[in-house]
């Protein structure tokens, strides 16, 4: 046969073998989970071990394999599997209940009866064997019994052969009594066993799309999906999420009003969350049913702040970070005068944060919402309009940053993550980013000590003349989980979420610099620069325009703004005029509903 055909044949055989293994994999797995009769030679008692009841939870996450957050979560999920399995099986051994007896007889007792004659013969052969073969024969006999689902404790290789033989004799005597009905079945104990498995799907930021076919077919739908609240909103819209403040069928309390099982069981789970963070889990779009429901359990939150390199600040003679916007501009000038780039960025990445934060500080988030979605009673009119003097001032300041050359020259052509690399290499003094930057630059500080880099951060500067409550407010976005309606293990899934909310935040905070949404959690030491402001903030603005106007943001606001932000020269009035026109058309068309 020519070599080619030989190779082809080998390939086909291999493919066949893989396919056969795959097809029978489930059966092989099942084989390992057969009921067993366990004999404790010491106590002379039998135990009926049923196959472990399987509890399978599917957990799909926005974190990809290898991400620091994933590693922490994975560790705690593994612990949950053990602890929850033990908790579910916590009831003590008891006599086989009447309902289980037919199964005991069919699965265990009958095969044991059938095995008795051969067992006697083999044991006789063992007794007759010389001392040198006894140990080996005892082990073979134990293995033979195990294949018949009879396990005897005390026949492991470590015990002396004579002792193993006695144990086997004790087993034979016990089995004979059991088979003849001298040991009633209710003297056989049954040990409940539960095997909890959490199937992890580390699918990265595209977790929703990755699971879309499963939602469509209703098969293997994740019980839990982890992601950002704004992104997971799509699931609520299509009625795939379980409201956490409504009792599940057959239960008196909602999950949130039930006990904080894994934390402090004396209080409701709801009390474990920072209230404003939990409220952020409400469905944001005006909808008579879903609007008032909490669908999202927030676990961590993110805030945006301005990160700075302490070494470069010192070099520029700046001894403390700025508190107000004019101070911030002055700091930029001072850094620039010292020959250092004040700010770095990757094109438009996070550029919208300058806009949102400044508007929140100068006008407040409600004003932005009224401008985008229309004023009270006048849903088709922006109030205030984009051409309002305060917007002009805000965007004028953003333009000022560009016009005065506060960003490094290369920012308009750099692609993520070049800016943070440059920042960590000491080529710019500041960078606006999310609190996750600490984690992304993890280990960089130590490695980069020679390059003069010491990471610190400060809160977004206050806006003189703005409302006082907007100056002390914090802005946060939340990340957490939704429990899916189509999942097969909803109750167990909620237990997992409760477990994570109670257990994994110390690691999240200290190892990953994540801000926890739980009341009892510490604040990440790596974000000390914003800790006081964040923790003392009387209001935390958790919303984002994308929550209530996703299409407007995607089609109008962000593209128009990015064009303005990146342009080498642009007029504020021209930009606001354009935005006003597009915004008016959007509202005239019925806002978000106009896209339907």
């Amino acid at each position: 046969m020519p070599l080619f055909y030989k190779l082809l044949l080998a390939l086909l055989i291999s493919a066949g073998a893989v396919l056969t293994y795959d097809l029978f994999q489930a059966q092989i797995e099942e084989e390992r989970e057969q009921p067993r009769l366990v004999f404790d030679a010491g106590a002379g008692r039998f135990t009926f071990e049923k196959p472990a009841e399987p509890v399978r939870i599917i957990y799909a996450s926005m974190f990809g394999p290898g991400e620091p957050v994933m590693r922490v979560r994975d560790k705690w999920i593994s612990r949950f599997e053990e602890e929850y399995g033990a908790r579910l099986a916590a009831s003590p051994a008891c006599a086989i209940p009447a309902a289980e007896r037919p199964r005991f007889v069919a699965d265990v007792l009958t095969p044991a009866r059938q095995a008795l004659p051969e067992f006697r013969q083999r044991l006789a052969a063992l007794d007759a064997a010389g001392a040198e073969r006894k140990g080996l024969l005892a082990q073979e006999l134990a293995a033979w019994l195990e294949n018949r689902r009879i396990v005897v404790r005390g026949t492991d290789g470590g015990a002396p052969p004579q002792e193993q033989a006695w144990t086997l004799h004790a087993l034979l005597a016990g089995l004979e009594k059991l088979a003849q009905g001298h040991v009633p079945a209710d003297e056989v104990a049954v040990v409940p066993r539960v095997k909890v498995t959490v199937e992890r799907r580390w699918q990265g930021r595209w977790v929703l799309s990755a699971n879309r076919p499963r939602f469509l077919t209703g098969r293997e739908v994740p019980d839990i999906i982890e992601g950002g609240k704004t992104e997971l909103r799509a699931l609520v819209q299509d009625d795939y999420a379980v409201p956490l403040d409504v009792p599940l069928a057959g239960e008196a309390l909602s999950p949130l009003d039930g006990p904080d099982t894994w934390g402090r069981p004396e209080r409701p789970w709801r009390a474990a969350f920072i209230p404003s963070m939990l409220q952020d889990g409400k469905y944001p779009i005006d909808d008579p049913v879903r609007r008032q429901r909490i669908y999202f359990a927030p676990l961590v939150c993110y805030t945006y702040c301005i990160f700075y390199n302490e070494v470069l600040f010192k070099r520029a003679g700046i001894d403390r970070p700025p508190r107000t916007w004019p101070e911030f501009i002055a700091v930029c000038e001072k850094v620039k005068a010292a020959g250092i780039h004040p700010l770095t960025a990757d094109m438009e990445n996070y550029s919208d944060v300058w806009m949102t934060w400044l508007i929140y500080r100068a006008l407040g988030p409600e004003a932005l919402q009224r401008t985008i979605a229309g004023g009270p009673g006048r849903p088709r009119v922006s109030d205030p309009p984009w051409t309002d003097a305060r917007y002009r001032e805000v965007f004028g300041q953003i333009r000022l940053l560009r016009d005065r050359g506060c960003f490094d020259k290369a920012f308009a052509g750099s692609a993520w993550p070049a800016a943070q690399r440059a920042f960590a290499s000491g080529s710019a003094a500041m960078m606006l980013n999310g609190s996750w930057l600490v984690q992304e630059l993890g280990g960089y500080e130590e490695a980069a000590s020679a390059r003069a880099f010491k990471l610190s951060c400060f809160s977004f500067p206050q806006w003189p003349g703005g409302r006082p409550q907007d100056q002390t407010a914090a802005v946060a976005g939340t990340g957490g989980v939704m429990v899916c309606r189509q999942g097969q293990a909803t109750r167990h899934a909620i237990e997992l979420v409760k477990y994570l909310s109670a257990r994994d935040h110390p690691d999240m905070v200290h190892e990953n610099a994540q801000i926890s949404c739980m009341k009892d959690a510490d604040f990440p030491p790596a974000l000390a620069g914003v800790a006081d402001d964040f923790l003392s903030a009387p209001i935390v603005y958790t919303g984002d325009p994308r929550d209530y106007a996703p299409r407007f943001c995607a089609d109008v606001l962000l593209p128009t703004y990015v064009e303005f932000f990146l342009a080498e020269s642009a007029s504020v009035d021209g930009f606001l005029g354009r935005l006003e026109r597009k915004s008016a058309a959007y509202l005239e068309n019925g806002g978000e509903r106009g896209y339907e």
Partner: protein, 301 residues
């Protein structure tokens, strides 16, 4: 004696139908049905998460027609096809002609060198070029600065598509060169010898012998380039993602954005599928035009 003709299985069409059935079933299941379904989806409002689709007819196409992002993306595809095509074919032809010269030393080496990028995956190529293009620490700008020239914002929204064209040409020219080279080697030597006897220079031989004789191969290559440049995805996504500026989208990346991008928080399966339908229609028209050109005149060796 009357001898009856042996009857064909199941009448005159039975046997062919039997033999054709497996292929036909596969064609219907794997191509015709999905294609028809796509056409249906393109006329529906659908997030892609629920089985429920709302049929809206040509409304999705109307939305697409009014969507500037789509027109920008289409323009970028045509730019890659046109401007990129000129550079691409230019290089491929020059390389092929050079390597067709049997007197060239190190022919195999150059051929491997030029073809080498074709071995690399789109993501690998894109990552490599992303690092080269980086305006802060990329090799290209460092070299330009070293030469005293001012740096270029390669990946800025105005330049990104041109930067992508350069990358595409680098990555794909090897494959095209091999195709053209194979075409050139099929041309009988007699023509060149006759032309040489007639006093034609090297350039003239290339222009008046090679190019006309390569017409068929070049039209096939042109079809391949058109299809490729209309469908280009991995290279652009790799170079410009995660947040591709609206000015730098091509149809496939925009399609992906509309259908799958969680970060936009909008899932427009209908519009995305409508884009795919338009894309296929454009490819069909263009390939149809090329076919017409091919049928007009055929070359015989």
């Amino acid at each position: 004696m009357i001898v009856s003709k042996p009857r064909r299985l199941g009448g005159w069409w039975g046997a062919p139908a039997l033999f054709l059935a497996p292929a036909l079933v596969l064609f219907v299941v794997l191509f015709a049905f999905p294609a028809a379904s796509s056409l249906y989806v393109s006329m529906c409002r659908w997030s892609g998460f629920t089985p429920h689709m709302e049929f809206v007819g040509l409304h999705t196409f109307g939305r697409l027609a009014a969507d500037m992002k789509f027109w920008n993306a289409l323009r970028n595809n045509f730019w890659i096809m046109g401007a990129g095509g000129v550079v691409f074919f230019g290089f491929a032809l020059v390389f092929a002609a050079a390597l067709n010269d049997r007197n060239l030393r190190g022919r195999k080496f150059f051929q491997t060198l030029i073809f080498f990028p074709s071995f690399i995956s789109a993501v690998g190529v894109a990552t490599f070029w992303k690092l080269l293009y980086d305006s802060k620490s990329g090799l290209l700008n460092l070299s330009l600065e070293g030469l005293g020239a001012s740096p270029v914002q390669w990946l800025a929204s105005d330049n990104a598509i041109n930067a992508a064209v350069i990358m595409l040409v680098w990555a794909e020219v090897g494959g095209m060169m091999i195709l053209l080279l194979a075409g050139m080697r099929r041309i009988p030597k007699d023509y060149y010898e006759a032309a040489e006897i007639d006093g034609a220079s090297g350039g003239q031989r290339f222009l008046y012998v090679t190019v006309p004789m390569m017409r068929e191969v070049m039209l096939i290559a042109l079809s391949l380039w058109m299809i490729g440049s209309m469908k280009v995805f991995g290279f652009i996504q790799g170079l410009l993602a995660p947040d591709i500026n609206d000015n730098c989208q091509v149809v496939s990346t925009l399609q992906y954005d509309y259908a799958f991008n969680n970060r936009r928080c909008i899932f427009l399966m209908g519009e995305a599928t409508a884009m795919a339908v338009v894309q296929v229609a454009i490819v069909l028209v263009l390939v149809g035009i090329v076919r017409l050109l091919r049928e007009k005149k055929s070359v015989e060796y």
